[in-house]
């Protein structure tokens, strides 16, 4: 009896979290007059909403923009994060703890204070409407540095010493010796970073005005608020489905890693 109650509560819980997404998917394929019915399966499937959306906004271009921006940021955060994390955990130098405290300080700094001046910087550098403007301010990440620093500390010194004797330089040590032994840290930082930049919408709204350079969430946002969906709900929902799809697909395959990564990033903050 107790078990039945337990499972029914859990089931109701999961339906609460899943139903809206299932409805969105169904509604995006439904004929316009059936969408507001809020049923799972429309009487007939149509790609009408998707076709109209592709006609109205450059969603394909936006997908490519988002891919370029999120991948570059992720790559940068991994490379620079492990370089700094390595120096902080494995090398002795003057000012090391100062740099560590600076990094901790930037983690506690609310972004509200840097938003306006960062925008002004981008304007003055001439990076409005460019990938550079989207990417550069996100290329370093304090949390990533801290996570790499922690992880590299657990790697045995012998491994590094052996590589040094073999004549490896520091960069080679980081990318050839430490990286293959730090897969969990790389996956965690990679997932958090990619997801955060894929879903970021405020910064693109500020620095990009050219529709052909917009990221996906930005384009969908402007489409949803800008009235270009012309109260056609189906088109709006189709745009939302396309926006959610890549991350949800990745989530279905790497679910365990997503949850672990997000949980460990929450723990650190």
């Amino acid at each position: 009896m107790k078990k039945i109650i337990l499972y029914s509560v859990l089931l109701i819980g999961s339906i609460t979290f899943l139903y809206p997404f299932v409805w969105m998917l169904g509604a995006s394929f439904a004929p316009e007059n059936e969408i507001s019915n809020l049923v799972f399966l429309p009487s007939s499937f149509t790609f009408g909403s998707y076709l109209q959306m592709f006609e109205k906004i450059p969603i394909g271009k936006a997908f490519i923009n988002s891919m370029i921006v999120a991948s570059t940021i992720t790559f940068g955060v991994l490379v620079f994060g492990s370089m700094v994390g390595y120096a902080l955990s494995r090398l002795e130098f003057k000012g090391r703890s100062l740099i560590f405290y600076i990094i901790i300080f930037t983690m506690t700094l609310p972004f509200q204070i840097t938003l306006i001046p960062q925008y002004i910087l981008i304007v003055k550098f001439g990076w409005i409407d460019s990938y550079t403007g989207l990417i550069l301010p996100y290329l370093m990440n304090a949390l990533a540095i801290i996570m790499f620093r922690q992880y590299f500390k657990t790697i045995p010194q012998d491994l590094i010493d052996a590589a040094r004797i073999d004549g490896c330089g520091e960069l080679k040590i980081i990318f050839r010796i430490l990286w293959p032994n730090s897969i969990p840290a790389l996956v965690t930082v990679g997932i958090i970073t990619f997801m955060a930049s894929w879903n970021e919408v405020l910064w693109p709204l500020i620095v990009i005005r050219d529709e052909n350079l917009m990221t996906m969430p930005q384009l969908v946002t402007l489409f949803a608020v800008g009235g270009r969906a012309e109260s056609q709900l189906g088109v709006k929902l189709a745009a939302a489905v396309i926006l959610a799809l890549p991350i949800v697909a990745a989530y279905v395959f790497f679910q365990k890693y997503f949850i672990q990564s997000m949980a460990s990033s929450g723990m650190k903050e």
């Binding site: 979290f17 001046p117 949850i259």
Partner: protein, 284 residues
């Protein structure tokens, strides 16, 4: 010599980044609070006028009050629901992985998607919630069109989106409770509630503090939800801190005043978190 230089070379990209994108902006933002500037024409020294304006700005106060309303609803919901679901998941159950994954799904999806979805659920005439209300004999509610409901509606939506993350964090916390504690308490004849308040709660206290801090930061960072759903309305009841900075900065191009707002909201966030920390430490 070369060996001494290597660490500095490795950290130099970060130093440059820090100076350009953190240190300079923080300094410049303080400087901006004493000036009026629309970026295009020359900057004008404004003395303390931005500060005076801020203290007399009803909309700034409104944004603070709105954020507090959001937090007062969001934080307790977040903690209670997350703890409840985590407790359920911590039982001996099958399909734990599935349930966990289901609760977590909204966390990974873009806020834009969630907002578009909930706009439909909250719709006045055709929204799911009002249909259910009408069916069970209640009047329709203007979830996003009634000034009294709009911010609470957004707070509920934000809870739905984020709670999965906190379920996981609480679950991790619950699993650190040694089972012997419960066994000993059971021998003493402790009830379920006693076990929860005397054993579980003290151990997961740090996790609760973390949920409060992260939710507070989230409340002050609220942007896309009001931007898409309400535009800050009705009657400014959903103007959030970041939405107000955004409007002043990128709509009216009042860079000096927008920087002043950003500066004060940042101070506010840090002080609220400090106060919360004091409370938690006193509890111990």
């Amino acid at each position: 010599m070369r060996k001494k230089l290597i660490p500095y070379l490795l950290v130099s990209p970060y130093i440059i980044y820090f100076l350009v994108f953190v240190a300079f902006p923080v300094g410049f933002s303080v400087y901006l609070t004493f000036n009026n500037w629309n970026i295009i024409s020359p900057m004008e020294f404004a003395g303390l006028s931005n500060y005076k304006r801020l203290f007399n700005d009803a909309l700034f106060r409104k944004a603070v009050v709105n954020t507090l309303i959001f937090l007062v609803i969001h934080i307790p919901f977040q903690i209670v629901i997350a703890l409840f679901l985590a407790e359920l998941l911590n039982q001996k159950i099958k399909f734990r992985g599935f349930f966990r994954a289901a609760f977590f799904l909204p966390v990974i999806v873009s806020g834009v998607v969630v907002t578009i979805l909930w706009q439909q659920l909250y719709g006045f005439d055709t929204g799911l919630l009002n249909r259910v209300l009408v069916k069970i004999g209640f009047a329709k509610i203007g979830w996003l069109t009634d000034p009294n409901w709009a911010m609470p509606s957004i707070a509920v939506m934000a809870t739905w989106k984020n709670v999965g993350l906190y379920v996981i964090l609480f679950l991790v916390g619950l699993q650190t409770v040694p089972p012997q504690y419960y066994e000993a308490a059971e021998l003493e004849g402790a009830t379920h509630l006693q076990k929860f308040f005397r054993i579980t709660l003290p151990i997961i206290n740090p996790t609760i503090f973390m949920v409060i801090v992260l939710s507070t930061i989230g409340g002050f960072s609220l942007f896309i939800e009001p931007y898409v759903m309400t535009g800050g309305g009705p009657l400014n009841s959903t103007v959030s801190a970041v939405l107000y900075i955004y409007k002043q900065g990128f709509f009216y191009h009042h860079m000096g005043y927008a920087a002043t707002l950003g500066f004060f909201f940042a101070l506010l966030i840090l002080s609220v978190v400090m106060i919360q920390k004091k409370f938690v430490e006193k509890d111990k």
